[in-house]
Symmetry: C2
Subunit: 360 residues, 2 copies
């Protein structure tokens, strides 16, 4: 058991992060969008990609201070067609630049059926789910993926890392209840799970981690000392070459097609991004789609559970209910994260919010 | 060791399959396209999805004879935008109808940047790789996926099957050597691997199979007696919920968006199909893309190998070299497959070809 963590209102965290970014010379609207992207991850329960990154991840405060993240990017359109756009993000704050790229993809999908945006030279974009979920309010299916420096995943049959965790997210609108949403790294687990285990000082399953020498390990510190995470599927016999192939697919679409570069050639927290959407009404009536998706998801939820399990969840159901709960009760933060954010606030003269009262 | 199998020239097998389809009232052009799709799978080494299916799979001869596959489908456009099309395949031979749908997607991508086709009421489309690879000659990145009756995969935490193996394929053009190509079921292995093991009378790894009662099994016969294959990733702790989510994604895009239906509501070998392509030149100069992709794949191939392995392969490299070899030396067929095809030939008065001489 862990002690109940203090909870913070989403709007308070948004205000705090917005002001932090503004102090570091990010224009107000970019600061607001960036804060919204990060806090959305926390609302969804994707704690590894939310405000916990603000203080220490090179894509945020550290990068803005060190000149690695450009607070005033000149985002340029490199090529454009009715359904696609290629953008250069000019090293801008990923969580502010990428939502605008997705908005362009959504506008194109509204106009001609589907739309895609490839972004080069972005910094960390946060949780891929934020982008795929942007499509839902517009009656679309969203997709988002990004690559990064190739230090996390070893190709099948190899012994050195060449790929990042290369996440993919897809979301589709349902009529009632949780929509479909998947968001995962193409490794067995995301690197963020190692950060969480380290913060909690807990071991990880041996299937999650190889140390620098390629041996299975349960110590999350080994990951940050040159260790790697196996591709989804694990060894070749259990389908690991599929996770490896998925990671290469993400490298091709978000790294090569955007012109950013593939994992093995990227430096510190450069990301290539690939975002897109399909308009549901381009294919069939929206109500037919959502009606059938509700039934599809309902049928999955009603699958008789295996021994020892309470019930079957649909992809994204847990994030959906977490969002509902955290919108109501606030976002619980790890004491270490609170301490780090408080520290940043003190340095930049931004007041860190009070926790919400423990009632409700 | 197994004895060397007789090899057959690709053009002889194409001629044979074309004539078989024609005898079953399929128009000559559809018969030709269908045969080409199937033999392409054999050339690539995807033996589970090639001519081996002609005699016994319900999507081919059995279905045409039984009225399940429509030899004269009235393929209809249900909805269309500049970048998308929704088609009703009218129960037509999947391997003939789906290549035309992909051609429509490619034409749209050539015109407006990217293009997608959703197909409802298709029969078995063969190997997804055939469709994604169609994009390469046109300077595009291709994607293909299809769902089917939900009898193969049990959702994470469940104990009854709700999803098919729901394959996904993506391919991208390189400048020299093997392109990028992935093609896999979202289960640990494809159902076809069970067919192959059964034909060879060999056990399978226990990670591949659960019997009807949900217990691990190594007997491929258990799969055809109501068994299932775990999702890619296996158990939840090793990322099995990701393979489950991928399978649902395929169900959403190819089953629900096409209006065909999700796995649990589909009957015998009905497939929903989702196909598409992105024009590389819409994003960056084609030579920049292929040059960088060559480097990306080269860097992966040069990864130092792990102990006990000769070298690292890139996704699709094996299929590419198999295609080169089989184009030259012929396609090896299992004796059982030869016997079945010969039987079909005798019944329909189509001469089964001679094996190619064993020299070369």
């Amino acid at each position: 058991m862990i002690a109940a963590r203090p909870r913070y209102a989403a709007e308070d965290l948004r205000r705090f992060v917005t002001e932090v970014f503004e102090r570091l010379d990010v224009p107000p609207e970019d600061a607001r969008v960036g804060a919204e992207t990060l806090v959305h991850a926390d609302l969804l329960g994707i704690d590894s990609h939310g405000v916990a990154h603000v203080a220490r991840h090179p894509g945020y405060v550290v990068g803005l201070r060190g000149g690695w993240v450009n607070p005033h990017p000149q985002v340029r359109v490199l090529r454009e067609t009715p359904s696609t756009v290629a953008l250069d993000a000019d090293g801008g704050l990923g969580v502010a630049v990428a939502p605008r790229a997705m908005a362009r993809a959504l506008d194109k999908a509204a106009a001609v059926g589907c739309g895609f945006a490839a972004v080069r030279n972005s910094r960390h974009i946060g949780a891929a789910a934020h982008y795929s979920l942007m499509a839902l309010d517009r009656g679309m299916i969203g997709i988002a993926m990004c690559n990064g420096p190739g230090t996390a995943m070893v190709p099948t049959f190899g012994r050195e890392a060449r790929l990042s965790t290369n996440p993919v997210s897809v979301a589709a609108p349902a009529r009632q209840g949780a929509p479909f949403m998947m968001d995962f790294g193409t490794t067995v687990v995301a690197g963020g799970k190692m950060e969480l285990a380290l913060r909690d000082n807990k071991p990880v399953p041996a299937a999650w981690l190889r140390d620098k020498a390629g041996r299975p390990s349960t110590d999350p510190r080994d990951f940050f000392a040159g260790g790697t995470i196996p591709p989804l599927g694990g060894d070749a016999e259990t389908g690991g070459y599929k996770g490896y192939a998925l990671a290469v697919m993400v490298d091709v679409l978000s790294g090569v097609l955007s012109g950013t570069g593939y994992g093995a050639m990227l430096s510190l927290q450069t990301q290539g991004v690939f975002l897109g959407a399909w308009q549901v009404e381009a294919f069939l009536p929206f109500d037919d789609f959502t009606g059938m998706l509700d039934k599809a998801l309902g049928t999955l939820r009603e699958t008789p559970p295996a021994d020892g399990h309470e019930r079957v969840l649909t992809p994204g159901e847990r994030e959906w209910s977490t969002q509902e709960e955290r919108s109501r009760l606030g976002i619980p933060l790890h004491p270490t994260v609170v301490e780090e954010l408080r520290g940043v606030g003190t340095e930049l003269d931004v007041r860190f919010p009070s926790a919400v009262p423990v009632s409700a």
